[in-house]
Symmetry: C2
Subunit: 173 residues, 2 copies
């Protein structure tokens, strides 16, 4: 077991979100939000045939994330829950997981929608989304069960405001 | 944009798969395959309330992965495709993404099923699975469209056999 694992970004996100404030908590709350993923040219050959896919997993690095709390109060609930029951960007390894819509591929640039990532976010991996692999049935959802309905209902308040501990209230927790 | 990103494992997989040979390509081909994820004790508080969830995302590190090809022939097809259209473990950043079934949480140990990870795999993150966030409809699947049906049909041959370049034929590509 290595003590640390070193990764190298394969690309960068271009997004209308320049700052964590106001970024929706998930792509499903970002309908129609356009963005780009610039894959660094040396990796561009790996995009061959990607234009046939409508959705991709993007594993990214929450580069604005600072620190974390192992037990935290998510903004969607009034109780304390374990960090690993949340999708907070403040994590021991601040990795983001977004399923975004792929509109087109232009050379080394992926034009996407449902962009929930901040401008400048380092991208670590792209994988094809496939319902046969990625959907599940008979799912129990713990405390998170119906909380997302609440999120949807409050409309514009679809982001967390506790991103930076003790600092400005931003997306997170 | 940082040149490199350094992560620290939060836990380790215990699995009946001791070697990449014969590991199914995805949890959906691992029905009933039991395993454990030992979360390192210092992170155990982050598991609070996780037992309410039936499925979790596991982001792991393919520690047996060696090298990669940007354009590759997946074992499910006869044509060459871009690496980012595949779920091969041989990637620039060899990150695994598994949705596994959580059976129970015992202190810092997650008892799981649909284990598609090799014994000793470093775990980087755990996130709750939620169909409202993780399912998509109207999905186009490129070359991968019906290839998984072929995988299912061949029964025991549900793993790739080209894991190590030029070496033993193992899971991957």
């Amino acid at each position: 077991m290595p003590d640390t694992i070193t990764l190298t970004p394969i690309g960068i996100v271009r997004s209308e979100y320049k700052d964590p404030v106001g970024v929706p908590i998930n792509p499903v709350f970002c309908k129609g939000v356009k963005g780009q993923i610039e894959i660094f040219p040396e990796y561009a050959p790996a995009l061959k045939d990607l234009d046939g896919f409508s959705h991709i997993h993007v594993i990214s690095f929450f580069h604005h994330s600072q620190g974390y709390r192992l037990v935290t109060q998510p903004f969607t609930d009034d109780e304390l829950h374990g960090l690993f029951t949340t999708r907070s960007p403040r994590r021991p390894n601040p990795l983001g997981l977004s399923v975004v819509r792929l509109i087109k591929v232009e050379d080394n640039v992926l034009h996407i929608e449902e962009t929930d990532m901040i401008d400048g976010t380092p991208v670590l991996d792209i994988k094809p989304f496939h319902p046969q692999l990625d959907h599940r049935s008979d799912v129990r959802l713990g405390w998170l069960g119906d909380r997302l309905d609440k999120v949807k209902k409050v409309g514009e308040v679809i982001y967390d405001q506790r991103y930076v501990p003790g600092g400005r209230r931003k997306r997170g927790d």
